[in-house]
């Protein structure tokens, strides 16, 4: 691209970059300012007086809920990816009738909005006596995320040469052993993608976390942050520090595992 077209493209891109960076820039700079600086309308300049105490205070408020979020999202991710890859394996490698129907049935539930399952899911958790518990939230997230995990892992497994399975079964390798000692090690990239996608989904999720715990001791980080918006009215510096803190795990995932995150996003939607 050259000349006039390039100049216009660059101007538009520059505008988009400003719009995409500005909210997060304002978030970080406000999180480090004293309230007086914000009240005087200083949003765009960096903080004059650095207030790292905001972060300490926001962290102390969110500490328990952050711990809860880890205690729910990590087990939920591990269980989801295990069940998903276990069944995804059969779907990808074995030949059987009704296979395409099963695929179709998963695709439908994978992309349905959570709202459709919300009432029966809440009933199920309440009836099992798991309301306000980590186990209840883990169970709910496993149920909701497993279809996506089956889908993504089985699409990854499809790229493995069938001969590998055939050869190892001729050598007397059982399907279970094949899964643990051959399939998992060679598809680590696909498994990681499914895990990264599930973890960010669960960590950032709101409506399920909001509905399944009303107890502050088991409440997760995202609903706690949402609650702060009501109680920290006009204390934008504290609110922004809190928003920044709960965003850290997702940002770290993007920085260190971004390749897997992107691969997971495209795998289900577009088979490469």
């Amino acid at each position: 691209m050259r000349g006039f077209g390039k100049v216009i493209a660059l101007i538009v891109i520059l505008f988009l970059i400003v719009v995409w960076i500005l909210p997060v820039y304002v978030m970080f700079s406000a999180s480090l300012k004293p309230l007086s600086e914000i009240n005087s309308g200083n949003y765009l300049r960096p903080p004059i007086e650095l207030r790292t105490e905001n972060w300490v205070m926001a962290f102390n408020t969110l500490k328990n809920s952050l711990k809860n979020s880890f205690l729910v999202s990590i087990p939920a991710t591990l269980i989801t990816v295990f069940i998903g890859s276990w069944s995804g394996y059969a779907l990808a490698i074995f030949k059987f009738r009704w296979k395409s129907r099963l695929f179709f049935s998963i695709a439908i539930v994978t992309f349905l909005p959570y709202q459709i399952f919300l009432i029966p899911l809440t009933r199920l958790i309440v009836d099992m006596g798991l309301f306000n518990t980590f186990a209840g939230m883990i169970l709910a997230y496993v149920i909701l995320n497993t279809p996506m995990a089956i889908l993504t892992t089985s699409l990854f497994f499809q790229t493995i040469p069938k001969e590998l399975y055939e050869a190892s079964s001729l050598d007397g390798c059982t399907p279970t052993r094949f899964y643990f000692s051959i399939l998992l090690p060679i598809s680590l990239a696909g498994i990681t993608s499914a895990a990264v996608l599930t973890f960010t989904n669960v960590w950032n999720e709101f409506i399920i976390a909001l509905s399944l715990s009303r107890d502050p001791t088991t409440r997760l980080a995202i609903p706690t942050l949402a609650g702060l918006k009501g109680s920290y009215v006009a204390q934008w510096n504290m609110l922004m520090a809190g928003a920044a803190i709960v965003s850290i795990p997702g940002i770290l995932v993007l920085i260190f595992l971004g390749r897997f995150f992107i691969k997971g996003l495209t795998a289900g939607a577009l088979k490469e």
């Binding site: 995409w20 049935s105 349905l112 993007l254």
Partner: protein
């Protein structure tokens, strides 16, 4: 590879028990939508289509439908088209795009609750960032109530939605454009085609599959947008910014009209199915090849 039924079940059962539970839940919601269930405890009193009648005769429901239509047009189309054009332009500038892409990706890993909090402050009428910037630039005539103004609030939320989801369209379109055979592009370049001509005559037709997926998933997003509404306006002023997925939650968990809430869920399901069945059939064809 053929396997014994026992082995097959051993592997399929865990995953498909869960899929089965989800289908059971769909059916359950459908049944509850015909029950006169109000309150916390289950009430199994058949009410026919009464819950649907309550919805269809209420002004609030139609405001929700109208807002969902606004999202459908002003969120889905811009996000999809910007994503497609941006993916192409960034592909033309490989060196710059390595630095720029993460800027559009990071909203994908941020919770919608954080996005809502950030943009709520932007569009806040008194202390909001946007109004302060406008005053600073001496553009006071543009200052307005933003999310406090029932006529504008929905559009403010849509801006936040686009901000969060553009990266998704960008990721999918970038992946699709990299699959376009390079000899097609090279042939066009040899013939002296401009970047614009290449875009419209080669890229757009060749990435049709990504367009189907991106637009369908963005439509489905408008049927589940809840967090942004909850955080930014709680559906207000009044119910001016409510959308169906938010209404479903309010009616069920705040007003405890579980039957009516299920009816909203069924309506969301029916609209989703219209998009999802063709999408899934079409994706399957690619997966199974």
């Amino acid at each position: 590879m053929r396997v014994r039924l026992r082995t097959l079940l051993l592997f399929l059962l865990p995953g498909f028990t869960i899929v089965g539970i989800l289908y059971y839940m769909l059916a359950w919601t459908g049944i509850v939508s015909t029950m006169d269930w109000v309150g916390m405890a289950p009430v199994w009193k058949f009410a026919g289509l009464k819950n649907y009648r309550i919805l269809f005769t209420s002004q609030r429901f139609w405001t929700n439908v109208k807002n969902n239509m606004i999202w459908l047009i002003l969120f889905v189309i811009p996000t999809g088209i910007f994503g497609m054009v941006l993916a192409y332009v960034l592909e033309l500038m490989p060196r710059i795009s390595r630095v720029l892409k993460p800027i559009f990706f990071y909203p994908l890993v941020i919770s919608p609750v954080v996005t809502g909090t950030l943009w709520a402050w932007f569009f806040e009428p008194q202390q909001g960032v946007l109004n302060v910037i406008l005053r600073y630039l001496h553009l006071d005539f543009l200052r307005t109530g933003w999310i406090a103004d029932p006529k504008i609030a929905v559009y403010c939320m849509i801006v936040a939605g686009i901000w969060q989801n553009l990266g998704f369209a960008l990721v999918l379109y970038t992946a699709a454009m990299r699959e376009v055979p390079s000899d097609h592009l090279d042939a066009a370049k040899v013939d002296g085609a401009s970047p614009g001509q290449i875009f419209f005559h080669i890229i757009v037709p060749e990435i049709g599959h990504a367009t189907i997926v991106v637009f369908s998933l963005l439509v489905l997003y408008t049927l589940k947008v809840f967090d942004l509404v909850w955080v930014m306006t709680r559906g207000g002023p009044g119910y001016a910014t409510e959308v169906l997925p938010y209404l479903m939650y309010r009616i069920t968990f705040r007003q405890l009209m579980v039957g009516v809430g299920s009816a909203v869920a069924v309506i969301i399901l029916l609209i989703s199915i219209v998009v999802l069945v063709p999408l899934s059939k079409w994706m399957m064809a690619r997966w199974m090849e």
